[in-house]
Amino acid sequence: MMRDATANVEAAHQGAIETTRADAEAWTTLHPAIVRTWQTSWLLLGVGLSLPLLAIGLFLMLDPPRWWYPVASAPAVLGAIAAATLARRRFGAWRFRREDALLAVRHGVMIRKETVMPYSRIQHVDVTQGPVARRFGLATLVVHTASADGHAVRIPGLRVLDAQALRDDLATRAGLFDPL
């Protein structure tokens, strides 16, 4: 089932990393499977928080107060609401662009953030992959600089091969492959 869903979005998103909006030809969006990835992880997180609380009420407490069950199930409900409303908008807000000398990243639904990172500032580049993202064949690219705010630019929702290609591309542009 899940595989099918992945295959469908895959088909809908032919060519994976492509531009979607005419006004910004160079902006790249994330892979659409990231929507499912976020939805799944938020649901899992919510349920994972709620289940133990519910279990405590059922098996450990003799007479749980009346508010216990609504409060205990709140994380799962919140996770479901976030999955239903936020994931798609978040996907829509996320984009990045490789320019000649810098990487630009734009994201955020409520609070919009744009970050500009010159390639010459890149210290190292990682590709990471969580369990849920792995299920959907996605990976996150993490680009580190020496910036004082300790901010690493994270680009989630790339297909593993794309993430690796992007990692190598950024590392090359940053001159990290130069002989020492």
Binding site: L102, R112, V116, T145, A148
Partner: protein
């Protein structure tokens, strides 16, 4: 990696053993002395004293000092400094000369008597790796070594940016002992610096809390138990009378005054005789009364300058000039914290401006003016409500921990919130940003101010941030960071078009100029 076998090792000077034992003896006496003397076992059986003191001396003084002496060495390699340290967990560090962020010497009173000193190398890493301490040497050797390291550091190859536009860089200069004196700080100015430190505000707050609490002494967290103690001494079983209250009150105020005076004296002793010089392509700071410190910072390693004017110092027209580099936030100098970013602890504006002009000669800024440059951009005027809310939230968050100390009286301070709101126009008056050819000038703050001078070549990341409220009023904030610790400059609430133009300008500059060093 350097081949360590071919190096010439250098150990601590033998007299260092004495200094190490002396420092430890002092510590042990201060901590364990009272414990031993107050121990009833010692009072009853004085013979216990001799073996216990002897054992302590061996365990805590002789052994550690000897082991430290025996296990530390360093060597001047061809392209790196090799430092071996640690008694139980031994560590050999190889520090390439090109990576050295600062070379500091320090001399404690005990070292001065014996003609010794120590040298610390700031490696630009963070945490425990931030600096390497070289073993104690003869003072003349320390100075020679400092000179040698400055020389070996060689022509600067930028790590993360071009050279600061100063006259250094091309020429590798042996530091002449003199150089150009950029700033000196007089004793009077140091006393002002101590007197206007934030401790004064804390003391005033504490006194205000005491005055307000005059009715409910017995319930106060610290003074209640103290009062009960006094009552027990006086033998009265009832509520404390006016005389006792007045005495406690006077003692509290006197105590705070003493703390404040001690703070003033410590500041003075720490920075006594402060001189900032420009030698070759480095800044050299020398200061200290008991502990003498000389700190060498390569100009190219400076990521940004910051001119900081806290409220109290602004009142007396002084400020603090700071230079942030990627290295340690503070270094240990014989157990004392020395603030590395503090370039000059206290300066009047005109002399600070002269020092800044020396680092960035091309910079055209009228520091005394509210609009330092003709192209100065201010936050949008529509942001006063946002600023007011932000300041109120910050005020409440500051009051929460204070209220634990002084009780609910703290919340009377909330009556000051209208005053906070009345000050919000200050934010758009003070804050702003301007761009010189290769340098950004960013001013933050309100009552107190902080002005950043950031060379474009040092910029690491630029963020543009826009929350829902900002979208509604058409503003955005820009954050500019460098690799220097704490160098996060915020331009809050610029008009959105200006904010985008600023990001465009910086990224345009970086696109054409930023090459990997």
């Amino acid at each position: 990696m350097s081949d360590t076998s071919a190096l010439e090792y250098r150990r601590q000077h033998p007299l260092a053993l004495l200094v190490g034992m002396g420092h430890r003896l002092l510590g042990v006496t201060l901590i364990a002395g009272p414990m031993v003397l107050l121990n009833p076992a010692v009072r009853d059986v004085p013979e216990v004293l001799v073996p216990s003191v002897a054992g302590m001396l061996v365990l805590l003084v002789l052994l550690p000092a000897g082991l430290t002496w025996a296990t530390q060495w360093f060597a001047i390699g061809h392209d790196a400094l090799v430092v071996r340290s640690g008694v139980l967990f031994r560590r050999t560090r190889t520090i390439p000369y090109g990576r050295i962020q600062g070379i500091n010497t320090a001399q404690s009173p005990m070292q001065r008597v014996l003609g010794l000193g120590s040298l610390r190398v700031d490696t630009g890493q963070q945490g425990v790796e931030a600096e390497a301490e070289l073993p104690m040497l003869r003072w003349s050797d320390v100075l020679a070594l400092q000179e040698e390291l400055v020389r070996r550091r060689g022509p600067v190859v930028g790590g993360g940016g071009e050279a600061v536009p100063a006259d250094g860089g091309a020429s590798v200069v042996r530091p002449a002992p003199s150089g150009t004196v950029l700033a000196t700080v007089s004793d009077r100015e140091l006393l002002i610096a101590g007197a206007t430190s934030a401790q004064l505000l804390v003391a005033l707050g504490a006194i205000a809390g005491l005055v307000d609490r005059a009715g409910g002494w017995a319930r106060m967290p610290v003074f209640g138990p103290l009062l009960r103690l006094l009552e027990a001494r006086a033998g009265s079983g009832t509520a404390p009378d006016g005389g006792v209250i007045a005495a406690v009150f006077a003692a509290a105020i006197a105590g705070l005054a003493v703390l404040w005076v001690v703070g003033v004296v410590l500041t003075w002793a720490r920075y006594r005789g402060f001189t900032l010089r420009h030698v070759g392509d480095t800044f050299v700071r020398t200061y200290g009364w008991l502990n003498r410190v000389s700190a060498v910072t390569p100009l190219q390693r400076i990521q940004a300058l910051s001119w900081r004017e806290p409220v109290l110092r602004r009142l007396v027209r002084y400020g603090e000039l700071r230079a942030v580099s990627a290295g340690a936030m503070t270094v240990q100098v014989n157990g004392n914290q020395a603030d590395v970013p503090t370039l000059v602890p206290i300066l009047p504006l005109d002399r600070a401006a002269a020092a800044i002009a020396h680092v960035y000669p091309g910079l055209r800024v009228d520091w005394a003016s509210a609009t330092p440059r003709p192209d100065w951009q201010r936050p949008s005027r529509r942001t006063w409500a946002r600023t007011g809310v932000a300041w109120s939230v910050r005020a409440v968050l500051t009051l929460v921990p204070v209220s634990f100390l002084f009780g609910s009286v703290t919340w009377y301070a909330l009556w000051g919130l209208p005053l906070v709101w009345a000050c919000t126009p200050l934010a758009s008056h003070v804050r702003g940003v301007a761009r010189d050819a290769d340098t950004l000038i960013v001013r933050e703050g309100g009552l107190g101010r902080e002005t950043w001078v950031i060379p474009m070549a040092k910029v690491q990341l630029v963020h543009l941030r826009q929350g829902p409220w900002q979208r509604a009023i058409g503003t955005a904030s820009v954050r500019i960071t460098t690799a220097g610790i704490g160098s996060i400059a915020d331009v809050v609430d610029l008009p959105e078009a200006s904010a985008r133009a600023l990001v465009q300008e910086i990224s345009g500059w970086l696109a054409t100029n930023a090459k990997r060093g």
